[in-house]
């Protein structure tokens, strides 16, 4: 139970007399204590995961709704159009037809929900919480109560965001970036309520989400620094832990500047200040009565100071998951472990000095542009190192194509497409044309949708047996995988074409009224491509049903498996499935690196990190060293 018992400086001093019963306490806890306000990292991880998946699907549903308007502009939304009209009023759905305001709300909230309520909670918080303490051999997080508070702040932040759909005027409409001054003046009609309006609630919800991320990040870093098991040196950490470590640092240091910006925007909306409002602003023909003296560009700087590290927050945990699964299913050590670790660190560092490449169109001076263009080019190097190491890891392996591996291998080309198509955007001359077109949408969705989300699915299929003691169904997993892969590409590949035609990402009519969207590519004009894209999006929604059913069905009826069904090497697989409160029956001690697959002289093709050294291992290492 006590991970420190093997160490000399065991904290005897504060030994609680009730300590010996502590291990049995959890059997008697009522349901709500055990699952709703638990301080156990595994329960919190699962809470994060399930809430995050619900938000992920909800955010995707918003997009499925928008795709109707893009494919069939001005036509009533079938089936649910009238129902939505009754829920949100004619300002949102006019006789079942989507209004421009509602379309904008859906767009802004799709971005916000997918990133901050979907991917970050799942990829970082859920997997991080569940897997990291197990992988480093810790009994829990360093601060279990703060961990619980982190989830609760996230949950209430999510509720505030959802609630904002129901206030007069609807949810935030200023895009997920909330650019000023547009965001500050939005909803400020005669019925303006300073608190209960979409944009203000967006800001308040965001403060809760940032609080949650900060508490989580502090906990993750402290856990990784302080609670590594005996023998778990930095260079023996699984790559997933490294990825989470860097991610936590990005969240810790990049989110607070955005929080300060959000406080300032909140002041602009509630107290009438002008942090982001320039002097002499004229709105709808009337000069705005405020002091001015602010700068819209300041918001963009502070927003993207978070915004760019956030991109790596989205992708790094995904890379970590993929690394674990690739090593496990190729049955050989991950290629270039050290280069991977250093690449992740460099990625984290550089991600803080590239932010202004989101702002080429603001007309920054050419010196600033040149600087950010250069750093942006440089940051592609560590990304390419990571991707190359994964590809080389596949070489010569006897790959097991189980469901997690299918998703993990699909991640590689998808992330590759996303990354390579980003290069034209990094050059400011090319970006002047491509900025704010569907090309940009396609580029970053390739990274986060078939990239990170596929990694997330891979992770769910991979660690599901650890969380429940049961496997998810293999066949239905494949039924989930193949349609998802095909639909993802059918959605996003044509968007590159649309973007290169110059179609703007925020057009409410899908481009019908614009000449340049009428140009034909492969037999369809720019806006006609919307229809196949939309159909692919809806099919993709359907393709998630096998996953949802499989997930819940397998919790109760999946095939029962032992503690290490994938024959993996890292510490989490030495714990019982599901691991009890406190995780390990005996405190693990670590003797070796994380990916000791196919070690010569061993009976099995996997050697766990907690396996003591033998003479044959020493010889194998020496032989390997001689070859290099």
């Amino acid at each position: 139970m006590d991970a420190s018992s093997g160490l000399a400086s065991h904290p005897h001093a504060e030994h609680d007399p009730h300590h010996h019963d502590a291990g049995h306490d959890h059997h008697e806890l009522p349901f709500w204590r055990k699952y709703l306000i638990s301080t156990d990292h595994k329960v919190i991880g699962i809470q994060y995961g399930i809430t995050g998946l619900i938000f992920l699907f909800f955010g995707f549903s918003l997009m499925m709704l928008m795709r109707w308007q893009l494919a069939y502009p001005g036509q009533p939304v079938p089936v649910i159009g009238n129902l939505l009209g009754r829920m949100f009023g004619p300002g949102a759905m006019d006789n079942g037809k989507m209004t421009a305001e509602f379309y904008n709300s859906l767009g802004a909230m799709h971005g916000t929900i997918m990133i901050f309520l979907g991917i970050v909670p799942i990829a970082f918080a859920a997997f991080g919480n569940f897997v990291v303490p197990l992988q480093i051999g810790a009994p829990d997080m360093t601060f279990p109560k703060i961990n619980m508070a982190s989830y609760q702040a996230f949950f209430f932040g999510g509720l505030v965001m959802l609630f904002s759909f129901f206030v007069p005027g609807g949810a935030a409409k200023g895009g997920w970036t909330s650019y000023t001054p547009l965001a500050i003046i939005s909803d400020k009609g005669p019925t303006y309520d300073p608190i209960f309006n979409g944009q203000t609630l967006w800001l308040l919800g965001f403060i809760l989400l940032i609080t949650s991320s900060l508490l989580g990040a502090v906990n993750f870093i402290a856990t990784i620094i302080q609670l590594r098991a005996k023998g778990m040196t930095w260079m023996r950490l699984p790559f997933f832990v490294w990825a989470q470590f860097v991610t936590a640092f990005l969240l810790l240091l990049a989110f607070p500047p955005l929080e300060s910006a959000i406080v300032m925007q909140l002041m602009d909306r509630i107290a009438g200040t002008s942090f982001f409002m320039p002097s002499g602003l004229v709105i709808a023909g009337a000069p705005l009565h405020n002091s001015g003296g602010g700068s819209p560009l300041l918001w963009q700087h502070l927003f993207w100071f978070l915004g760019h590290p956030e991109v790596y927050v989205l992708i790094l945990p995904g890379m970590g998951i993929v690394a674990e699964i690739i090593a496990n299913n190729t049955r050989k050590p991950l290629w270039g472990y050290k280069s991977l670790v250093f690449a992740a660190l460099v990625l984290g560092f550089l991600s803080f000095i590239v932010w202004a490449h989101h702002m080429w169109l603001t007309g920054m001076g050419s010196v600033v542009s040149a600087f950010f263009q250069t750093t942006t080019m440089i940051i592609s190097i560590p990304s390419v190192i990571i991707l190359s190491a994964f590809f080389i890891s596949l070489w010569g392996g006897s790959i097991r194509f189980n469901v997690p591996m299918l998703f993990a291998t699909a991640f590689l080309p998808m992330f590759g497409i996303g990354g390579l198509t980003g290069i034209p955007l990094a050059f400011n001359s090319a970006d002047l044309y491509l900025h704010d077109t569907y090309y940009v949408i396609a580029h970053f969705h390739y990274i986060v949708a078939p990239g990170t989300i596929f990694a997330v699915f891979a992770g769910i299929y991979f660690w599901f047996p650890k969380a429940t003691g049961r496997m998810m169904n293999e066949f239905w997993g494949k039924v989930h995988f193949w349609p998802s892969l095909i639909c993802m590409n059918m959605i996003f590949l044509p968007m590159f074409l649309q973007g290169m035609l110059g179609m703007h990402r925020r057009w409410y009519d899908g481009g019908q009224g614009w000449t340049l969207a009428g140009e034909k590519v492969w037999g369809l004009s720019g806006f006609q491509w919307n229809t196949p894209i939309s159909i692919a999006a809806w099919v993709m929604g359907l393709a998630q049903l096998p996953f949802i059913i499989n997930f819940f069905w397998s919790i109760k009826h999946g095939k029962k498996v032992d503690d290490n069904p994938w024959e993996a090497t890292t510490l989490e697989w030495t714990a019982p499935s599901p691991p009890p409160h406190g995780n390990f029956a005996t405190t693990p001690t670590v003797y070796r690196g994380p990916y000791e697959y196919s070690l010569p002289g061993r009976e099995t093709d996997f050697t766990m990190q907690s396996e003591p050294m033998r003479e044959s291992d020493r010889k194998a290492y020496e032989a390997a060293a001689a070859v290099h």
């Binding site: 139970m1 006590d2 991970a3 420190s4 160490l7 000399a8 400086s9 065991h10 904290p11 001093a13 504060e14 609680d16 300590h19 502590a22 291990g23 009994p139 829990d140 997080m141 360093t142 601060f143 279990p144 703060i146 900060l214 990040a217 502090v218 906990n219 870093i221 402290a222 620094i225 302080q226 609670l227 810790l252 240091l253 990049a254 989110f255 607070p256 500047p257 955005l258 929080e259 300060s260 910006a261 406080v263 300032m264 002041m267 107290a271 009438g272 200040t273 002008s274 942090f275 009565h289 405020n290 002091s291 001015g292 003296g293 602010g294 700068s295 300041l298 700087h301 502070l302 406190g582």
Partner: protein
């Protein structure tokens, strides 16, 4: 189950958990206030010459608050040291003084400094009307000395209805000394002791005013950043006071009997936070009160 290293240090890092935690948290706080300060500098550099106000805050009171905060930093470190030497009585007194210092700081801010500002009025004059109000602005004198021009006329607003009523066409202001006697060289730089407004009444036509308001956050970029930063700083002071009160009340100190070292660690962590709050104020004070 028990989390290791809550009280004693992990041998290889030499640290106990909460120490790592608080430093990580402070790192994020550095970034939070860093964001606000960089916004302040950004806006200030952007402001046209003369538009950034000077000497509108009460320097003696600000200095006193600075001293109070520094004193509380000393007492909190003494409280921690007393616990380390297992002198509980001394700890209790030092902690009490710290809490009182925090409360006085907040009291001065909320009950005196801020309301004083809310009662003060300023009107920015349109560029083409500056000449008309030369007798209150003294820009000829300033130009001669190579100083930045004045664009604001401030003082006590006599007809407060002018703020809301569109039919009132002018503001009646009991002028601040700087506007009452603008060409006097002693008014070129702010005074240490704030001077009360004079009896001299100026009437300023609304048509000549670019923007006018009480000294509220919306008055200018200067007051916006002043109230936002000091407000957020005040919230931090309040948070510190709440944590200290918990560690001072019997509820928190009962830990002393069981494990004095654990309480000392908690006080150290809370103290680190408090010193950080002090450190932020060390920058707030010159940036807003003096420069």
């Amino acid at each position: 189950m028990e989390i290791p290293y809550t009280v004693t240090a992990r041998p290889d890092t030499g640290l106990w958990n909460a120490k790592v935690g608080i430093w990580l948290f402070l790192a994020s706080e550095v970034m939070l206030f860093g964001g606000l300060f960089s916004a302040y500098v950004f806006l200030r550099l952007d402001a046209p010459p003369g538009a950034w106000p000077h000497g509108l805050l009460n320097v003696p009171v600000g200095t006193m608050n600075t001293a109070i905060l520094i004193a509380s930093s000393v007492t909190v470190v003494m409280a921690w040291a007393s616990l380390k030497m297992r002198k509980f009585r001394a700890y209790w007194w030092y902690m009490l003084v710290t809490i009182l210092c925090g409360l006085i700081f907040l009291g001065v801010k909320l009950a005196y400094e801020w309301p004083q500002k809310f009662d003060h009025f300023g009107a920015f004059i349109k560029t083409d009307a500056l000449e008309k109000y030369e007798e209150y602005l003294g820009n000829h004198h300033l130009a001669e000395k190579g100083l930045a021009p004045r664009t604001e006329i401030s003082g006590h607003l006599h007809n407060e209805e002018a703020l809301h009523d569109e039919n009132v066409k002018e503001y009646e202001i009991a002028l601040d000394p700087v506007n009452a006697d603008p060409a006097n060289p002693s008014m070129d730089r702010p005074h240490f002791l704030p001077l009360p407004h004079t009896d001299k009444i100026a009437k300023i036509e609304k048509a000549d005013v670019e923007y006018a308001n009480m000294f509220l956050p919306k008055h200018s970029a200067y007051f916006a950043s002043y109230f936002t930063i000091t407000g957020l700083h005040g919230l931090h002071v309040l948070g510190g006071v709440i944590v200290f009160t918990y560690l001072w009340l019997p509820f928190g100190t009962k830990l002393y009997k069981r494990n004095p070292e654990h309480l000392a660690n908690r006080v150290e962590v809370a103290g680190l936070f408090w010193h950080f709050v002090d450190l932020v104020w060390i920058f707030v004070f010159p940036l807003f009160y003096l420069l």
